[in-house]
């Protein structure tokens, strides 16, 4: 397990204060509907305002429009956004995943073309990984890129694709060659406005129809300029990114606002022995997850790829997100019925949403079963 210090330097603390002040001003509490972690709302205006402060794509080098910030700096910003329930949906994937991928594997042309636009929060990305027959067994993807005179033709079906309906680009994992399972995979940038791209919403069990989608790719033309890194290296690239994707605050903070708003709306229950005992217990777990997650960010800054550590953290962090919901429900011990009058309180709204969303926490971004296999390989 990584052992980097989990304290912040003075400039990092100063950055945190700046983000707090920005949120208090731009997104005052009570003036917006807070979301649950990274599945929060989508608000281009907010993302643009955030980008205006230099906090989108902040790890991108300055010559491409970023500020060359560290993983810890990004951790500081993201943590404040998520614990505020800020609408990060528009830029989330671009900021967390696409920017680092392009910085690491992109061509000079791709970097100059896309990174400044990511840093201005102009672009929304989606990730085309899962398919009807390739979920946890991702290496069995069947979407195929076939060489033609002008580049590639990509055909296949991607599912469970978050934000596909509003994305400008998809980063898609495709089979481009034969060979062993983990070989012959490549990644393409696909312009979602290309002919042959069809997006069909998949209604979520909570009633939402604007989040999840199926994306059908029917002979979509992709030029060589849109290949990410080398053809055939898609799997190895993908594995290297997981440390970024799996260790952040988004993997344990999703239900934090429930605890905060429970304290606000149920002060007597919160002050009871059972209530304060629970709050103490949850605080201890948040405190240590924060420390472990920050330590991974430090390790990344030190040049490491702590993928196994990240898997250990995501596996326990996401279970904890679910445990928070169960524990609060057990303490409340009441039916979650609400109608138009009186309108449900913020806590009630968050709790209803959390109960319905909670199963996804331990599935999205790698199921806990897969994470355990990844984590165990790193034990020695």
């Amino acid at each position: 397990m990584v052992t980097s210090p989990a304290t912040l330097t003075a400039p990092e603390l100063e950055l945190r204060e700046q983000v707090r002040a920005f949120l208090a001003e731009t997104l005052a509490w009570g003036t917006f509907e807070p979301g649950l972690g990274m599945a929060a709302g989508v608000d281009r205006t907010f993302s643009a305002a955030l980008a205006g402060r230099g906090w989108v794509g902040m790890s991108v080098p300055a010559r491409y429009g970023g500020r060359g910030a560290t993983a810890v700096d990004r951790f500081v910003v993201v943590e404040e956004l998520l614990r505020w329930g800020a609408p990060v949906g528009h830029h989330w994937v671009a900021d967390r995943q696409i920017a680092p991928v392009l910085v690491r594997y992109g061509t000079e042309e791709q970097k100059q073309w896309l990174l400044p636009r990511i840093c201005r929060a102009e672009l929304c990305f989606c990730i085309g990984m899962s398919e009807p027959d390739a979920g946890s067994d991702l290496a069995s993807v069947r979407t195929r890129g076939v060489r033609d005179a002008d580049g590639w033709r990509v055909s296949g079906v991607k599912v469970w694709t978050s934000n596909a309906m509003r994305a400008d680009f998809m980063i898609a994992l495709c089979r481009t060659g034969e060979g062993a399972r983990h070989q012959g995979l490549s990644r393409f940038l696909i312009d979602m406005r290309s002919p042959g791209v069809t997006v069909r919403p998949i209604p979520f069990l909570n009633g939402s129809t604007d989040h999840f989608a199926e994306v059908v790719l029917d002979g979509v033309a992709v030029s060589d300029e849109m290949v990410i890194g080398e053809i055939g290296q898609g799997w190895a690239q993908n594995a290297n990114e997981l440390a970024f994707e799996r260790s952040g605050p988004d993997r344990w903070i999703s239900t934090f606002l429930l605890v905060q708003e429970f304290m606000r709306e149920w002060p007597d229950l919160a002050a009871s022995p059972a209530g304060s005992g629970l709050i103490g217990e949850l605080a201890a777990q948040y405190w240590v997850l924060h420390r472990l997650s920050l330590a991974v960010a430090r390790a990344i800054d030190a040049g490491g790829t702590p993928a196994a550590e990240a898997a250990l953290i995501k596996e326990m962090g996401t279970r904890f997100e679910q445990d928070v919901v169960s524990a609060l429900r057990e303490l409340l011990d009441r039916e979650l019925v609400c109608g138009p009058d009186p309108a449900p309180s913020l806590f009630e709204r968050l709790l209803r949403r959390a109960v319905l969303d909670a199963p996804s926490f331990t599935i999205r971004g790698g199921t806990n079963e897969v994470l355990r296999s990844v984590a165990v390989k790193g034990l020695s």
Partner: protein, 349 residues
Amino acid sequence: MTDSELYLTAAQLFAAHSHDIAEAEATGWAQQLWKALQQSGFSDVPVPEDLGGSGGTVDDAVQLLRAAGAHAVPVPLAEAGLVGGWLLASAGLALPQGVRTLLPPAATLHLDGDRLFGTAPAVAWGHRAEHLIGLVDGVVVLAPGPAAESGAPAVTRGANLADEPRDTVVFDGVPLTARADAPHGVTEQTLWERSALGRAALMAGAISAVAAMTLRYSGEREQFGRPIGRFQAVQAHLVTIHQQAAVVASAIDGAVEAVELGRGSFEIACAKMLADRAARLVTAAAHQTHGAIGMTKEYPLHYLTRRLWAWQDEAGGHDRWAGRLGAALVAYGPDALYPAIQSGSEVVQ
């Protein structure tokens, strides 16, 4: 957490005395080991040298306790150093010669002049102690122990789940050896906290040793023609154990950082809570992985797991620390909750 040089040196010393553990369970004492600790000065960390100690920081003392926990060391090292040694030194009292231990903060004691009255339950290795250190009525006291040559208080033997002596000592007007008013900031609560930090550090060591032992066993033991560690169901246990080892190690680091900055209530409460929870999860997963062999006296897992079961209730169990921390957080209100999670005792006392 990187193992410091001090940790490695101490671990070597403890490993050399590993055969003393079983013997100590039978006799209640490991004289050779205690002697080695006194000679190396490890028993006197972090007491300043001008008070007869070996110097060193809180972190040094915690490193020693992690090593002690990993080797199930059967002596009152926490009581002698990090907790009792610190308490004496805080009031400017010098370390006495001989075996010393702590009168736990749960004791119901009082002073009448320089005489000590009352009962101290669950005194670690109480019957072997020549000196007892305690905090009574705001006074740091040094009293003769049951093994003292004169003025010894009465003692009844007891033991925790790991057969570590937890004796009841009764004082009926025993004259004190030394006394000094506790300085500002040294209270019954801070004594609870120091005690909890000591237990949590021992637990961190024991948990890391259980993690190593279980991983090794899962690679050696074969069933169905392959090492059991290759089965996903067993891997889930290994993941749980290593997650919890990481949790406790990070929590101890956080608590030590805070204590060295002169605070630490929040972090110690978290560390003890997390260690207690980890102890439950880790012992269950480790025993399940080991199967029947882990239930035998012969296989060494029980030296660690029985201690973890005992220590999770000592120095305040999970509910005590959760309730205390939760009450403080409720008092600060919902808007201070996240800042407290980020900054601990910098925000919440």
